[in-house]
């Protein structure tokens, strides 16, 4: 996200008090809350208040609970007895030291990187393509969001059938190709499983990327392109010098959110491979679920969940800082 507007916003707020009270509020007849500046301030904060309240209740509180649980020994016994003894960093030690952690971490990085790359590039390409006006473009564009209407349970089931090694549609189609004799075990071989899962995730993510990027592209005034065309900037040059810079804020949102959402992805992987085969598609997210709900060690599951949140945070911070620097340059 770009830095909050500074200079011009400052100019804006000082002009927000047209009735002439000194900005510093140094009027001798201070009327406390009724002073126009404070009231204006309060009003501005009021814009934010509902959202802040919601975030506190629905996000801060659960996170706090999860952080606490990461330090406790929380098992099925706890549900009945209510006892969750404090174990300090034991859960984290167990989770980070487990042999699966490295594998899961690697898979998470590959899965996220691959998914985002694919989703974004294809999403942007399709969004740019749909900038043209052609018959049925509106209809086709709305159809693109159709995959999102289908519950993930159903989507993952459908993809499982399609990717079945023996009878799946994909392999049947490959079988029709003249020179190819392979029947890839998409979900059953360690080398292909992660790829398959990434491809399905890309498929799922394209509508999201396309729609938002399309909206962003629509915001760019046409006359800029026309003016640019006069200067000889068309096609790729136009994209680089006009489209890309103006699309930047939207791109940032899409990328950062994309990574954050992808790190959390659980349903698709569970639906397709359950983390297998032989842990080939086990990510930090699926591992956290496995710890909590298959082994009933909620403390460890929570610990791993917190690790995941921290990773998200670090990525977001690093990316945003890098982005800000790029924008400033």
């Amino acid at each position: 996200m770009t830095a909050p507007p500074t200079a011009r916003a400052a100019a804006g707020s000082s002009r927000a008090t047209p009735d002439g009270a000194a900005p510093g509020g140094a009027s001798p007849r201070r009327r406390g809350l009724r002073s126009p500046r404070t009231r204006a301030r309060a009003l501005e904060l009021a814009f934010l208040a509902p959202a802040a309240l919601y975030l506190l209740l629905f996000f801060a509180y659960p996170v706090a609970k999860n952080v606490v649980m990461g330090f406790q020994e929380y098992t099925t016994r706890t549900f009945f007895t209510g006892e969750a003894p404090w174990v300090g960093l034991d859960n984290y030690a167990a989770v980070l030291g487990s042999s699966l952690f490295d594998r899961a971490l690697l898979n998470t990085v590959l899965f996220t990187g691959g998914s985002i790359l694919g989703q974004f590039v294809l999403g942007l390409a399709i969004a740019v393509f749909f900038q043209r006006r052609f018959p049925l473009s509106g209809l086709l564009r709305s159809l693109l969001l159709l995959p999102w209407l289908v519950p993930l349970i159903v989507t993952s089931a459908v993809w499982r059938w399609m990717l079945d090694q023996d009878n799946g549609v994909i392999n049947r189609a490959i079988g029709l190709l003249p020179l190819v004799d392979a029947r890839p075990g998409w979900l059953t071989s360690t080398s292909l499983a992660l790829l398959a899962v990434v491809l399905v995730n890309i498929w799922i993510g394209i509508p999201f990327n396309t729609t938002i990027l399309y909206g962003g592209l629509q915001e760019i005034p046409g006359e800029l392109y026309e003016a640019g065309a006069l200067d000889g900037a068309t096609g790729w040059r136009a994209f680089r010098h006009i489209t890309w810079p103006l699309l930047r804020p939207v791109v940032t949102v899409v990328l950062v959110l994309g990574v954050v959402y992808t790190l959390k992805v659980l349903d698709i992987i569970l639906g397709l491979t359950g983390g297998g085969p032989a842990n080939a598609t086990q990510t930090l997210s699926t591992q956290s679920y496995e710890l909590s709900f298959r082994q009933f060690d909620f403390g460890q599951g929570a610990a791993l969940g917190n690790v995941l949140i921290v990773i998200s945070l670090v990525f977001a911070a690093v990316y945003l800082r890098a982005n800000r620097r790029a924008v400033d340059e």
């Binding site: 909050p4 804006g12 509180y61 043209r132 049925l136 159809l143 999102w148 005034p221 003016a227």
Partner: protein
């Protein structure tokens, strides 16, 4: 976004090139001249959509087969059967309505809460805006299960379990942070000059927001609302954890219990999924028309 305001000035000076700018705002925003692309592009568009939607075709295919396991499903439903749909309609129509109500409610609540916040973060100068944004972003990093977990106990104490209101509140959480982030990105593009013009004319903060900023952000609002609807419609986690009886049951949960019940009758399951997609599809088509309109262009000048 200072680049926008920086560039806008030079481009309005020379007269002849301004001619295209005088035409209707809609065409001025197209990046390529109208009508140059015809059915060729449509063909490409159809191909793209066909590839993207193939799995959904498969879903439709299975729904039209006789009930069975889905292993050897032929590519085309030669043996048409509407059994699946009959079962689905009979059992899931109530759930479809519930889903619709919850999703619409979530959209309304989300937009009410997120839009002012997005505006505040984008245009008003708030000292800790960066912090708030980060908090919003972090909220998106929290795994859903963590949230559902905490909400359950709170809802249980407050008596909000098994209620449409409770679900609306929870599902709004799917849209508020996201809506703030998206709309803020869009709203940052609105030049302050426009807002200030309104203020100078005597409009208060709220008035300026409602009469000037909102209409200009229609595109952003629609996009945010659309995704909130989709998130809420497809939500399964909250539906599962925040309801304990069958009174209030969104269709995602309906499908899930279906799968649990009819392990081998995928046609009924797929039929429900297809039916579940229809109302939302209608809304999509309608909304997309608004997204394509976009409004910013006109006010810049």
């Amino acid at each position: 976004m200072t680049e926008t305001t920086g560039r806008a000035a030079p481009t309005t000076s020379p007269q002849p090139p301004a001619a295209p700018a005088v035409t209707a705002p809609r065409s001025a925003r197209r990046s390529r001249p109208v009508g140059e692309h015809g059915w060729g592009s449509t063909a490409v568009g159809v191909a793209i959509i066909a590839v993207m939607l193939f799995p959904l075709y498969w879903m439709l295919n299975v729904s039209l087969q006789r009930s069975s396991g889905a292993v050897a499903t032929p590519v085309l439903p030669f043996d048409l059967s509407f059994d699946g749909y009959a079962t689905a309609l009979r059992e899931q129509s109530g759930n479809l309505l519930t889903s619709l109500v919850v999703a619409v409610g979530a959209v309304v609540l989300s937009l009410l809460v997120a839009t002012p916040a997005a505006y505040a973060l984008a245009q008003l100068r708030i000292r800790w805006a960066g912090g708030v944004l980060l908090a919003v972003l972090v909220s998106q990093m929290v795994p859903g299960i963590v949230i559902a977990n905490a909400l359950y106990s709170a809802y249980s104490d407050l008596g909000l379990l098994n209620s449409v209101a409770g679900l609306v509140l929870a599902d709004a959480g799917l849209g508020i942070p996201f809506g703030i982030l998206i709309m803020r990105a869009f709203m940052s593009a609105i030049p302050t000059s426009v807002v200030e013009a309104a203020r100078v004319d005597g409009a208060g903060q709220v008035r300026a927001f409602v009469s000037v900023v909102l209409p200009m952000s229609r595109n952003a609002l629609i996009t945010a609302g659309l995704f909130t609807f989709l998130f809420a419609w497809g939500d399964f986690l909250f539906a599962l954890t925040l309801t304990t009886t069958g009174e209030v049951r969104p269709v995602t949960l309906g499908i899930y219990t279906y799968i649990g019940t009819f392990v081998n009758d995928w046609s009924a399951v797929m039929a429900t999924a297809v039916l579940a997609s229809l109302p939302a599809l209608l809304l999509l088509v309608v909304a997309q028309r608004y997204v394509s309109a976009g409004v910013t262009g006109g006010a810049v000048k």
